[in-house]
Every structure is written in structure tokens, then in C-alpha cells.
């Protein structure tokens, strides 16, 4: 099936754009904006608004018509880590029956990142949107180290409590600081030779499974994740590894 954007007629290819060009507002600037949109590959383009937003900068709103089609059947999607998702009870029962002991999980918001609420949504008793956090799971022993934790402290803690899984939250991403942070964690784990002792999970609004696995994590979770997603993944992964 080939698809294109839809405005009010199938395949009309309508796309809305907005951007700023570093030039004074003028007819020429508008023409440049139109030219830019056309160069992006739009068949036609209407600049519906232009406004001088400060000296030397003009803001444009445009609608473009695109002929680009994509073959929807051929779109491949990395199956997200959270695709399989059991309920609170199912997770606990699975752990009880298959792993037969409490799972130990250690979580932290690492580096300079201080967005505790994001990790808390997964960890805290109360959870998020009426989904309890991992601390509430009878079969999970959950340690939340909070925010601005150094990678090395996290690792040492995980070793000390014999963690099964390490959960990392990364919310600040400007200038790819999260990538540096995550890469460093993997490197430290490898240096200590303990990488394979843990299931390694990372989450955050700009994280996805693809990025996470590429960097050497076992899974990555993005927006809209609940504790169940992570719980299911860890329990199953632990079982699959035959670790219990």
C-alpha cells in the first residue's frame, strides 16, 4: 500500500511547514522561503504567512504538496521493547513461578540529569497514570538512587546489592549529552567486566529501543512507558537468559 499525507482528498500530499530564515522580511525573502520548500522536494508550495520576528529574521508558514509516496508495507519497525506487556499480577506470578525469587532492580537518573519524576513514574509506589511503579511489586526489590548519580556510583551500588537489572533515565539530550553518558556507562561496565551481570535498560522521552540497543543496552523505553512494560521485559529477559 502506497501512502501520502492527506489533507482533504486521498493522496493530496498536504504538509504544513514552519521555519525561520535569517533574512529581513521582504518579497525576496518570501521567494527564498518558497524556493527552499520547493527544493525540499515539494511539488508546489504556498507561503501562507511571513512575519518579521526581529531584526534580520523572518518567520514563515507554508503548505506544500508532496508527491512522495511511501510503501507502507515495506516500512520496517524495530519491535519496541515494550511491545509485550503483562499486567501487574502476571509479572509477579511469572517471577514467582519461573524465577522463583525476588528480582533486584537498581535505578538512577545519571550524570547531571535531575529529572527525577520521569524515573519515579516507573519506580515509585504510586507510579504514573494509575500504573503502580516497580517498588510496589511484591516480587521486585527496587532501589531508586534518585537523580544526578554518577555512573560509577550506580555500578558499584548495583554490584553491592547483586542487582539483576540496572535502569537508567536520561531526559536531558541537548548536544547529545545522553549519548555520552550512556556510552560511558557501558564502557565502565565493560572495564569492570560486569556488563553481562546485568540487564541494562534505559528510558526517557527521547529514547527508543533502536538507539538503546545500538549503544549496547538491552532495551530502551520512550514516552508513554509504564512500569508494566519494563517489568515484563526484565522478567522475561532474565528467564530467557536462564539466570534464575
Amino acid at each position: 500500500m502506497f501512502i501520502r499525507p492527506y489533507g482533504d482528498t486521498l493522496n493530496d500530499g498536504q504538509v504544513q511547514l514552519s521555519f525561520t530564515l535569517p533574512v529581513e522580511k521582504s518579497e525576496k525573502a518570501t521567494e527564498a522561503a518558497r524556493f527552499f520548500v520547493r527544493k525540499l522536494g515539494f511539488e508546489s508550495c504556498e507561503i501562507v504567512h511571513s512575519e518579521a520576528i526581529c531584526r534580520g529574521f523572518t518567520f514563515f508558514l507554508a503548505y506544500g504538496t508532496s508527491n512522495i509516496e511511501i510503501d507502507y508495507d515495506k516500512v520496517e519497525v524495530e519491535s519496541p521493547a515494550g511491545e509485550l506487556c503483562w499486567s501487574f499480577e502476571e509479572i509477579n506470578n511469572f517471577i514467582k513461578e519461573k524465577i522463583k525469587r525476588e528480582i533486584v532492580v537498581v535505578a538512577a537518573c545519571t550524570g547531571s540529569d535531575a529529572h527525577t519524576v520521569c524515573l519515579d513514574a516507573i519506580m515509585n509506589m504510586k507510579g504514573f497514570n494509575h500504573h503502580y511503579g516497580l517498588e510496589r511489586y511484591p516480587m521486585i526489590k527496587a532501589h531508586n538512587l534518585g537523580a544526578q548519580v554518577e555512573n560509577i556510583d550506580l555500578i558499584e551500588f548495583a554490584i553491592r546489592v547483586k542487582a539483576d537489572a540496572i535502569l537508567v533515565s536520561q531526559v536531558v539530550t541537548q548536544k547529545d549529552i545522553h549519548i555520552k553518558n550512556m556510552t560511558m556507562l557501558i564502557k565502565l561496565l565493560n572495564d569492570k567486566g560486569v556488563r553481562n551481570n546485568f540487564i541494562l535498560v534505559v528510558g526517557g522521552p527521547k529514547i527508543d529501543n533502536k538507539l538503546a540497543t545500538e549503544l549496547g543496552f538491552d532495551a530502551g523505553f520512550g514516552k508513554g512507558t509504564y512500569a508494566e512494560h519494563v517489568g515484563t521485559f526484565i522478567a522475561r529477559e532474565l528467564y530467557n537468559r536462564g539466570k534464575p
Binding site: 489533507g7 482533504d8 504544513q16 501562507v48 504567512h49 508558514l61
Partner: protein, 518 residues
């Protein structure tokens, strides 16, 4: 409902009285006249339908052949032909479309014609009553899913099948009401096109088949969503009464229908319009269709701040004409709009004043509130902010029928996501301030209260002038929307006929009887 504006009851009563006095002589004129389209509408009630090979509708063929007999009414000839030829209605329509001239057929006994008229009208009235019952039933069945105010969205692709997709999507997104915008300038056609159409400009032809297609699509989605979706079209222009009949049959729920819009904004002859609106409103009343008046057009044409009082004056006149046509207040959706220049200091307070004033002067009427349009630009973000304030005002003043502002108003007829964003905005705002109306009071002698009183005073001034001048002559002088129209000018003037002594219109008689009884 608590009043907040401290408007004088005496003044409101005076304004109503003036409106009554203004319409009285016009109503006299109306009662004495018929028009081409009133006749065609009556014929449609009896069953006239279809077109000839040139696409000319059967009702038009009939009325054309009876041009010289218009003053006696056309129904008699249509029924006479049926009886004389022993045709069923479809056979008769077919014969007419193939050239049968009903004016040539010798008239049989009046009694028989009257009996047959009763039968045919009975068919019609059964159908309409069934529609009304169905609608009432569905509305009460699904009432808990209705928004308040009701959210009204438009579709305007020009293609009825594309419209259906857009309308279904809008309903799924949470709309209560779908209006199928009519193609540019259909109002100037002196006939109603036939069949399903796909070639409108910025709107879709209003045809009975298009009505049917959309009605059935919306009935479908209504059941899926447990939410009765109301359907709107335009009962306006040169064929007002006929479209009323078609809408009644196809169970439309609302109709844009104004007593002066066509005159002012489409240069349709004023005598014609007054007669047509009356007949069409009787049909709407019988079919319990809510009419929406078009006062918003004053504000997109003139300055909304300066001419705010013309809206109120027009609402009063529209309301009075509606009453004359036996429309109960609950079926009269008086129009107004949020269209004051947003750069004016305190423009929002002025909007609040106007909307609250309409609410207090017309407590029992379902007010139709139009979004900002004139000051909407291609800056879709800014539009979204304006629409947020508009949504706020509607809820804050308890409006009834809320036309959603579309962020791309200045760009194109709405795309599918434009409607979604409009509904999302309205739902957020209205839920977040659900009880605001009950929570606040306005300062005595503040900007809001003073503005409302000023607008009322100015409207009374205008109405007094109109009363003294006479409505026909007032329009000639440009007292409304600065637009001047000649009493004998404009489109459709030659379609008016003074009723003769022997004028007979069983449909009109039926409606008058029915409506004055109820």
C-alpha cells in the same frame, strides 16, 4: 440562569415590540404573495421530483408551464393531472419530465383534488413525523454524549463522497453537528440541482440525494459513537422553500435560514426573500428543524465593533419573522459572531458583553455562535490562540451551537487534522472552565455591562428608525450592513406573484393549521 448585565426589561420588551411592528406590514405582504419556489416547494411536498433530460427539475417544469396561472396556485394542476391520468406520483413525474404539460389538462372536481391533496400531504406528514420521532428518540438515547455547547464543524470538499469521509472523521473526533458547506453561488440558482454531486467549489451542491447520502453516513457513525450527529445545510438563496422540503424529508436537523441574508448579501429581491423565508420556516417548524440565522455576515462585512447593534436588531427581526412562521423559540438559532478586531484593547471584554447580552435577551433560543474569521491570518498558531479565546467566551456565556474556529481559516477549507485540533482546543477549554458561567459576576457599570447596554440602546435606535421608515424602504436606504437594495431589484424578482382570490395551496393550508394548533 442568572442575569449579569442588568439589562432593562422594559427596553428589551420595547425592542421586541418594535421588531413586531416592523414585521407586521411585511407579513401582510407575505401573506398576499406566492413565488415560483414556494409553489415548487408545495409541489415537492406533494411528490414532484426528478429532472428532464436537460437536468431541469420536474417542479421547475411544472411551475414554468403554469407561469400565467401562478396566482391561482400550482398544486391543483399537478394533482389534477395525477387523477386525470390515473398515474402514481413517480409515473406522473416521469410523464412531466418527458413533456407532459399539466396546465393543459382539464380540471376535474375540486373535491376530489382536495381529497387527493389530503392524502398526499398525509404521506408527507407521516414521513416527517417519523423523522421527528426518530430524531427525538436518538437525541434522548444518546444525550449524555452531547457537548454543551454543541460543537459544530464544517466539511467543504465540493465532493459529497469526500465530504462523507471528512464528516465521519469529524464525528469520530467529537463533533455534535456537521454542516456541509454549499458550493459557491448555489444560492443564485433558481432550481435545486439533482443527484449526487462531486464538482462543487469550496462546498458541495445541496441536492436531495447529497442530503440522503450524508444523512445515512452520519446515522451510521451516530450509532457507532452513541452520539446523535446533527446534519446542517443551507435553506437559503433562491430556492429556500424547496430546500426546506428536501431537508425535512431527509431529516436534516438544522438549516441556515435567514429572513434578510439573501437580500443583503446575495442581492436577491427582498419581496421574494420575505415570502420564501416564511414558507420555508413553516416547513422547518413542522419538521422541527432548528434554523440558524446569519447575523455573523454583518460582522464580516462591516466593522464588528461599530456595527454590533445591527446584529441585535437583525436577531430581533429574524426572531419575529420566525414567530410569525410558528417556529418555537427552541428552534430558532439566532446567529452572532466573535469577530471584533483582536488588536482592540479589551476586545475580549466586548465579545463577552455581546455574547452574554444575546444570551440574556434570548434565554430560550439556541444561540449560534460563529468563530473569528475576518482577522484570522495565515499564522495558524495565532489563529489557534484566537480560537481558544473564542471557545472560552462561548462556554463563559452559555452559547448553544458553537461553530468551531479552524486554525487554517485564512488558507483553505479545513483539512482533517484542522478539525481535530479545533475540537481538541474546544474540549480542553470548555472542560477546564466548565462552571465559569456560574462563578463570576460582572462589575456594575463596568466595561462589559456598559457595552451591553450601549448595544441594546443602539439597536433600539435602529429599530425605531426602521419602523418609521418601513422595512422595505430601510433596506433601500442601506440601514443594514451599509448595503442598499432596491425593492424591485435583485435576483428572482420576476418569480413573485400576488395570490389571486382563487389561490389554493393545500400545503400552506396544512402547515398553517398544523402549526397554529400545536
Amino acid at each position: 440562569m442568572k442575569n449579569k448585565l442588568n439589562l432593562s426589561k422594559e427596553k428589551i420588551d420595547l425592542a421586541r415590540l418594535l421588531a413586531k411592528e416592523i414585521t407586521t406590514p411585511v407579513q401582510k405582504f407575505i401573506d398576499e404573495h406566492t413565488t415560483d419556489t414556494v409553489e415548487r416547494a408545495a409541489l415537492r411536498v406533494l411528490g414532484a421530483d426528478g429532472t428532464n433530460e436537460n437536468g431541469i427539475p420536474v417542479p421547475n417544469l411544472i411551475v414554468k408551464s403554469l407561469r400565467n396561472l401562478l396566482s391561482t396556485g400550482t398544486c391543483r394542476y399537478y394533482i389534477n393531472a395525477k387523477l386525470k391520468k390515473g398515474f402514481t406520483i413517480p409515473e406522473l413525474n416521469n410523464a412531466i419530465s418527458n413533456g407532459l404539460d399539466v396546465s393543459n389538462i382539464e380540471l376535474i372536481d375540486g373535491e376530489k383534488i382536495r381529497d387527493e391533496a389530503d392524502k398526499l400531504i398525509n404521506n408527507f406528514s407521516q414521513l416527517i413525523r417519523k423523522n421527528v420521532n426518530y430524531r427525538n428518540h436518538k437525541i434522548s438515547e444518546f444525550s449524555k454524549n452531547e457537548n454543551n455547547p454543541m460543537l459544530y464543524l464544517i466539511v467543504a470538499t465540493g465532493n459529497i463522497f469526500e465530504d462523507v469521509k471528512q464528516a465521519t472523521a469529524a464525528a469520530e473526533q467529537g463533533a455534535d453537528i456537521i454542516a456541509v458547506i454549499r458550493t459557491t453561488a448555489q444560492s443564485l440558482l433558481d432550481y435545486v440541482p439533482f443527484g449526487a454531486t462531486t464538482d462543487g467549489f469550496c462546498g458541495t451542491y445541496a441536492t436531495q440525494e447529497n442530503f440522503r447520502i450524508m444523512r445515512s453516513a452520519l446515522d451510521n457513525v451516530s450509532e457507532n459513537m452513541n452520539h446523535y450527529i446533527r446534519l446542517v445545510n443551507y435553506c437559503s438563496g433562491l430556492c429556500m422553500p424547496e430546500i426546506a422540503v428536501m431537508g425535512a424529508v431527509e431529516r436534516l436537523d438544522m438549516m441556515l435560514n435567514d429572513s434578510m441574508y439573501g437580500i443583503l448579501f446575495r442581492d436577491i429581491n427582498m419581496c421574494r426573500t420575505f415570502v420564501d423565508q416564511h414558507f420555508s420556516r413553516m416547513i422547518n417548524a413542522f419538521a422541527e428543524i432548528v434554523i440558524n440565522t446569519g447575523e455573523d455576515n454583518y460582522l464580516t462585512t462591516c466593522d464588528a465593533y461599530e456595527k454590533a447593534y445591527t446584529v441585535l436588531a437583525s436577531q430581533l427581526i429574524n426572531a419575529r419573522f420566525a414567530k410569525n412562521a410558528h417556529l418555537p423559540e427552541r428552534l430558532v438559532g439566532l446567529g452572532h459572531a466573535f469577530d471584533i478586531d483582536p488588536t482592540i484593547k479589551n476586545s475580549f471584554l466586548l465579545e463577552l458583553a455581546q455574547a452574554q447580552m444575546a444570551r440574556e435577551i434570548f434565554p430560550e433560543y439556541p444561540l449560534k455562535y460563529m468563530p473569528p474569521t475576518k482577522f484570522i491570518t495565515g499564522n495558524i498558531f495565532k489563529s489557534y490562540a484566537l480560537n481558544t479565546m473564542f471557545n472560552f467566551t462561548a462556554k463563559a456565556t452559555n452559547q448553544s451551537i458553537h461553530l468551531l474556529g479552524i486554525l487554517t481559516e485564512a488558507i483553505h477549507t479545513p483539512h482533517i487534522q484542522d478539525r481535530f485540533l479545533a475540537i481538541d482546543n474546544a474540549k480542553y477549554v470548555m472542560n477546564s472552565m466548565a462552571d465559569f458561567f456560574d462563578e463570576i459576576e460582572f462589575k456594575k457599570d463596568g466595561i462589559i455591562v456598559n457595552r451591553a447596554n450601549e448595544v441594546l440602546d443602539n439597536a433600539i435606535e435602529l429599530l425605531k428608525k426602521v419602523k418609521n421608515t418601513g422595512l422595505f424602504y430601510s433596506i433601500e436606504k442601506g440601514l443594514f450592513a451599509d448595503i442598499k437594495r432596491k425593492k424591485n431589484g435583485g435576483k428572482g424578482f420576476d418569480g413573485i406573484e400576488k395570490k389571486g382570490k382563487d389561490y389554493w395551496n393545500p400545503v400552506e393550508d396544512f402547515l398553517k393549521k398544523e402549526l397554529s394548533e400545536s
